[in-house]
Structure formats: C-alpha cells, structure tokens
Amino acid sequence: MADSVADSVAEPAVGRRSPAAAFAARFEAASAGGSLRLAEIPFLAQINLRVDPKSPAAERIGTAIGVPLPVEPGTTAGGGDLEVLWLGPDEWLVVGPDGAARDLVERIEEAAAGEHVSVVDVSAQRTTLVVGGERARDVLAHGCALDLHPRAFGPGRCAQTMLARAAVVLVAGEDGFRLLVRSSFAAYVAEWLLDASVEYVAGG
C-alpha cells in the first residue's frame, strides 16, 4: 500500500492486486468442508463487444476468435480458452485468460474491418468469483431471485442480474457458478458470500 499512485499507473503489471485478494484465506477456509468452494479467478481478460448479430462483421469476429457469437439470450459459447457471454441482443463479453486482452482486441478489430463495431477492453471492470460445490445454489439463493435449478440455469447459461442488490454477471458451469462482479463491489459481494455460507460450512 506504500506504492504511490504514480508508481502503479506507470507500471500496472508490477505488484498488481486483484479486487478480492484479501479474501483468499477466508475463501479457502469456507471451502475446506467440501460442500462449498469459494475462490477468486483474478485478472481474466474481458472484452465488451457490440455488433449487429446479423452483420458480416459478427460472423467474421466469431471466426477470428474461434467462437461463434451466441445469439440465444442468456447463453454462452466456448472454444479453446475463450468464453463468449450473451449480454444483450447486440452485446457480448468475450472472456479469456490473463494477458489475452490486447491480442483479443486486435483480432476482433481486424475482423471487424472498419464496420460499425465497438470493442472495449473492460478487463479491469470486474473480477471473477467462483461459487462451486453442492451447496453453491443454496448460497446464491440467499440473494438471487433467478431460478438456478440446472433445468432452468445449467451449464451454458449466463445472466446479468442482481445478487444481494449488487449487479453481477452470473455464469453457470459444469462445476458451479462464476460471478463476474465489479471491482468496487468485489469486497462487498465476497463478504456477503462468506456470510451466506456460514450455515453450509462444516464446523460453523
């Protein structure tokens, strides 16, 4: 914390700190019982993409990143180390591994080839929290109004919604859920998750 603001601006990769880094030990403790798994996946690359889904550019972008843009509301598409989340009828979030943002932006812009497309690196906007294990749905149900049953919200589904009054992108996977939460809300959501988890964590 002694670093000055100027230092962190000049060298963003040095000593960077993820929004929920301070919760690592408590997440681990809450996960020890085995019925619940809490963790942060820091620094994922996130590209916000807006393009007319019926345009040739949309198809070219899908080809360029190896994942066709999902057009069914609330669904995801994956390929390689990328996942594309439907955010709106002309809006997607392309999620990739740490460090991939610049290359992704370049590939998408090249594929767009000057068409009416918006490509913005929003990697720093949100961090990713994992809520997995057999109790994951019970924990989320404390503060999320969506039906999270696998029949309604199984792998391949995503939703922008509210969790405990915080705006989140909720993604269902094979091994639980991922929450994309704004960096400034990460500590609040982490505290909330830990509080909601108390009754499901062995030993209390």
Partner: protein
C-alpha cells in the same frame, strides 16, 4: 414485487427495471412549429388511464434494453411485452 417478463431475458424482479412512462409518444415532426402550449403538452402531458396502459421499461440490471409493456394500472397485470419498434399488440 412485480415479475416483469423482459422480451429478451424472460421474467425478472421489478427491482431490475426502470420505468420510462407512457410508450408511443412520438417526437413532433417539426418542433419549431409548435406553440408553447403544444410543446408543453408534448413534454409534460400523459395519459393516466385506469386499465390498460402501454408504457416503457428498461431492463437496467439485465440486458439494459428498453422495451414496451401493456400493464393494467388497476391490477398491475402485465398483458403483453414487446420490443422497441414493434407495434402495440391488440388486447381483447
């Protein structure tokens, strides 16, 4: 709380939406030609029916799209939702 069916995302809690007032209020063709009273009527005067009302909603905490809904102002029942640009459905 109302359960509002977003035409993109499906049913969601009212808390995810913002209300946008009466739908289908067309912008005047030639605003400069309006008298002050006509302009004021366009800006400020809205229907206030007891019964079916076509109104705008925005799914601000979800897909962030504006859409229209026909709601019964007396019962809060939502009879139809439809996307921007689509005509108001006829409700028997």
């Amino acid at each position: 709380m109302l359960l509002i069916p977003c035409p993109w995302c499906g049913p969601r809690d009212e808390a995810e939406f913002h209300y946008g007032g009466q739908a289908h209020v067309a912008y005047p063709e030639d605003p400069a030609a309006l008298s002050d009273e006509e302009w004021a009527r366009y800006l400020f005067f809205r229907d206030n029916p007891k019964g079916l009302f076509a109104e705008r909603w925005s799914h601000t905490a979800g897909c962030r799209r504006w859409f229209n809904a026909v709601r019964d102002t007396a019962t809060n029942e939502i009879h139809a939702v439809y996307r921007t640009g689509e005509p108001r459905p006829v409700i028997a």
